[in-house]
C-alpha cells in the first residue's frame, strides 16, 4: 500500500475524470460506431440494421470525395501556408517591444473571434450585392464579383479565411517558444559569425522545433475539423463544392436526419483524425524526440 498520499489523490481525482471521459468521449464513439450500421432518422427505436451500407454509400458519394479532397487541401494549407506565415511573423515580433505587442494583439485577434462570427464577417466582406466587395466593385466601376458563389474560387476563399483566423494562434505558440530561447545562444551564434538568417536556421528553428511539431499537430487536427466557418460562408456551396468532411457530415447526416449515415461519416472522420495524428506523432515527433 502506498503511504505517500498518492493513492488517496488517485481515488479522489481519477473516478470523476474517468466518468466524464467515458460519458462524453468513449460512449459517444461506441454509440456512433453502433449507429453507423443502422438506417435511422433520429426518431423512434434503432432497429433498421443495414450493416456496412452507410459506408458503401459514403464511398460512392462524389460529394464526400470532394469533401475529403477539400479537407486535404485545408490540411495542406494549414501546414504549408499557415505555419510558415505564423513562423515568419513570430520571428519578426517575438522580441518584447511595445510595437511588437500591438502587432501580436492585432494578429491574434482573429483567433479570439467565434468561428461563426468569423464566417459571418467574411461573408459580408465577400457579399457581391451589399458587402465590402460590392462597394469596392462599385468604386472601381466594375461588375460585382460573387467570389463565394464561384466554384473555382469559393474554396480558396475559405482557405484564406481559415489561414487568417488561425495563424495568430500558431504565431503565439512560436513567440512563446522563441522567447524561451536563451539569449546567450543567439549571441554565441553572432560571435561565431552566423548571419541573422543563419542564426534563424541553425539556432532558433532547431530550438523551437518542439513547438513547430506541436503546432503542426494542432494544424492537422484543426484542418480536419473545419466546419463552422464554412456554413456561414458558403454552406457547402456552390453545388456542394466547398464542403469539408464535418460540414458534409452536418449537411448530409444531421440536417437531413440521416443519423446512421452521419454516424458513418463521423466514424470515418474519427479514424482519419486518429490515424493522421498518430502517424504524424510516430513520423515526426517520436523520431525527433519528445515534444
Amino acid at each position: 500500500m502506498r503511504s505517500d498520499g498518492s493513492l488517496t489523490a488517485l481515488m479522489l481525482f481519477l473516478p470523476p475524470a474517468v466518468l466524464l471521459f467515458s460519458l462524453f468521449v468513449i460512449w459517444p464513439i461506441f454509440t456512433a460506431v453502433d449507429l453507423s450500421f443502422y438506417k435511422w432518422n433520429g426518431y423512434g427505436d434503432v432497429t433498421n440494421f443495414v450493416g456496412f451500407d452507410n459506408y458503401g454509400i459514403l464511398l460512392k458519394n462524389s460529394i464526400f470525395h470532394q469533401s475529403l479532397f477539400n479537407s486535404f487541401k485545408l490540411l495542406l494549407a494549414s501546414i504549408f501556408l499557415q505555419i510558415p506565415l505564423a513562423l515568419v511573423l513570430a520571428l519578426l515580433l517575438y522580441r518584447k517591444t511595445s510595437a511588437n505587442t500591438a502587432f501580436r494583439l492585432i494578429f491574434f485577434a482573429p483567433y479570439i473571434l467565434a468561428e461563426i462570427a468569423t464566417g459571418l464577417i467574411w461573408s459580408f466582406i465577400f457579399d457581391g450585392d451589399y458587402g465590402v466587395s460590392a462597394m469596392v466593385a462599385d468604386k472601381l466601376g466594375s461588375e460585382p464579383f460573387y467570389i463565394l458563389a464561384d466554384k473555382q474560387w469559393a474554396f480558396w476563399t475559405i482557405i484564406t479565411v481559415v489561414v487568417w483566423k488561425y495563424f495568430g494562434y500558431h504565431m503565439m505558440i512560436f513567440i512563446a517558444a522563441l522567447q524561451a530561447v536563451p539569449t546567450d545562444l543567439i549571441e554565441a551564434a553572432e560571435i561565431d559569425g552566423a548571419s541573422p538568417l543563419k542564426t534563424i536556421w541553425y539556432v532558433k528553428l532547431p530550438m523551437i522545433l518542439h513547438a513547430i511539431k506541436l503546432s503542426v499537430l494542432f494544424a492537422i487536427t484543426g484542418a480536419l475539423q473545419v466546419f463552422d466557418i464554412i456554413i456561414p460562408l458558403t454552406n457547402g456551396g456552390p453545388s456542394n463544392s466547398t464542403h469539408s468532411i464535418v460540414s458534409f457530415l452536418y449537411t448530409f447526416g444531421l440536417a437531413r436526419m440521416n443519423v446512421g449515415f452521419g454516424a458513418a461519416v463521423g466514424v470515418v472522420l474519427f479514424i482519419l483524425c486518429v490515424g493522421t495524428a498518430f502517424s504524424y506523432k510516430r513520423l515526426a515527433i517520436d523520431k525527433g524526440g519528445q515534444l
Binding site: D184, I191, D192, G193, A194
Partner: protein, 336 residues
C-alpha cells in the same frame, strides 16, 4: 595575439550610465581579469569588447584597428559564456566547428581543427555526444574548444567557472592557466571571484560602479591598493578597516590592516578584545575578535589555533604591512 584598448569608452542604457568613461590598455598575450562586485560593469565592458553591446561614446581598438562599430565576427574575438551557450541540438563536434562552418571553411579543415581542439581539451571521445550528455566541466571545455578553433586574436571569458562546483572550478582554473600559457593568446576574463582573479591574472582591473579603481598585477593590488575599495575587495578575508582615534593618531582617515598581518601578542598590544568565534580550517584559523571602541577585527592565525570563545587576546599589526586612506578613500602614508 593582439592588444585591446578602450579609449574613453562610455555606455548608457537609456538614462542609466553604466560605464561613465573607461580607458584601458590590454597588452599582447596578457591574461587580464576584470573583477568587481555585481553590477560594477565588468560584464558590460566585456560585452562592449565582444560587440554584443554598442559603445555609446569613445572608441575600441583591437590590434590597433578601430573596431568600435565592427560586428562581433569582424573583431577577431571568441567568447566563452557563463552559461557555456552550447547549442543543445548539436553534438560536441558540431558545436566546436560551428564558427568554422559559418566562416565557410571546407569540411576537411573543420574536421581537422575540431579534432585538434578536442585533443587539446581531452574531448576526443565525446565528439558525438550532445551537450545534455556532458558534465559541467566537459561542457565548459567544449565552450573553450569552440573558442579555440576559430584562432581568435582575443579570448573573452564571462565568468566561465561560476556554474561549476568548487573542486571542478579549481581544476578548470589550472587548465585555463595552462591553456593561456600554451596558446599565448590575449585573454580577458570577467569574474567576481577574487581567487580566480589573483591566480589567473597577470593584470587585474578592479571595477566599481563602472569606473576603474585600479589596474595592476595581483600582488601589486594586494600590496599597494590605491583606494579603500580595492583594499577591501582584494584579499580574503577582507582587510580590517579602523577609523576614529586610532586612525587619526596615524594621520589617516582609515587605517587598514589585513587579517594575516595582525599578530596575537601578549605584550605591546594595540588592541585587546574578546574572541567571539573562530573558524578552524586546519592550515589557518580565522578569529573574529570584538575590540571595544574599534569594532570587530578579523585575524588570521597560522595553523590550528584553538581559542575558546570569549577568551580575551591582545593584537598588534605587523610592522610595515598596514595601509592608510584619506577621507576620499585614496591611499596615503600611514605613520606607524
Amino acid at each position: 595575439m593582439a592588444t585591446l584598448e578602450f579609449k574613453h569608452v562610455n555606455k548608457t542604457f537609456g538614462a542609466v550610465e553604466v560605464i561613465p568613461d573607461v580607458s584601458l590598455f590590454i597588452p599582447h598575450g596578457s591574461f587580464t581579469v576584470f573583477v568587481g562586485p555585481s553590477g560594477c560593469g565588468k560584464s558590460t565592458l566585456l560585452r562592449l569588447a565582444a560587440g554584443l553591446e554598442d559603445i555609446s561614446d569613445g572608441t575600441l581598438e583591437i590590434d590597433g584597428k578601430d573596431v568600435t562599430f565592427a560586428r562581433p565576427t569582424e573583431r577577431g574575438i571568441a567568447m566563452v559564456f557563463q552559461s557555456y551557450a552550447l547549442y543543445p541540438h548539436m553534438n560536441v563536434a558540431q558545436n566546436i566547428g560551428f564558427g568554422l562552418k559559418m566562416a565557410g571553411k571546407p569540411k576537411a579543415e573543420i574536421a581537422r581543427k575540431v579534432h585538434e581542439a578536442a585533443a587539446t581539451l581531452q574531448l576526443d571521445t565525446l565528439l558525438d555526444r550532445k551537450p545534455g550528455e556532458l558534465s559541467g566541466g566537459q561542457r565548459q571545455r567544449v565552450a573553450i574548444g569552440r573558442a579555440i578553433v576559430r584562432e581568435p586574436k582575443v579570448f573573452l571569458f564571462d565568468e566561465p567557472l561560476s556554474n561549476l562546483d568548487a573542486a571542478l572550478r579549481t581544476q578548470m582554473r589550472v587548465e585555463l592557466a595552462e591553456l593561456h600559457k600554451r596558446l599565448g593568446a590575449t585573454m580577458v576574463y570577467v569574474t567576481h571571484d577574487q581567487v580566480e582573479a589573483m591566480t589567473l591574472a597577470d593584470q587585474i582591473v578592479v571595477l566599481n560602479k563602472g569606473r576603474i579603481e585600479q589596474v595592476g598585477s595581483p600582488l601589486e593590488l594586494y600590496n599597494q591598493p590605491k583606494t579603500l575599495f580595492v583594499a577591501g575587495f582584494i584579499g580574503s578575508p577582507k582587510m580590517n578597516f579602523i577609523t576614529g582615534d586610532y586612525a587619526t593618531h596615524r594621520q589617516v582617515s582609515t587605517f587598514g590592516v589585513r587579517p594575516e598581518h595582525i599578530d596575537i601578542v601578549t605584550s605591546g598590544a594595540h588592541w585587546t578584545g574578546r574572541v567571539q568565534f573562530s573558524e578552524r580550517l586546519g592550515s589557518d584559523t580565522y578569529l573574529y575578535v570584538d575590540v571595544p571602541g574599534t569594532g570587530r577585527l578579523t585575524v588570521r592565525a597560522i595553523g590550528d589555533a584553538a581559542f575558546v570563545g570569549g577568551e580575551t587576546i591582545g593584537l598588534a599589526p605587523r610592522a610595515n604591512t598596514s595601509h592608510g586612506f584619506d577621507a576620499d578613500g585614496r591611499a596615503c602614508a600611514v605613520s606607524e
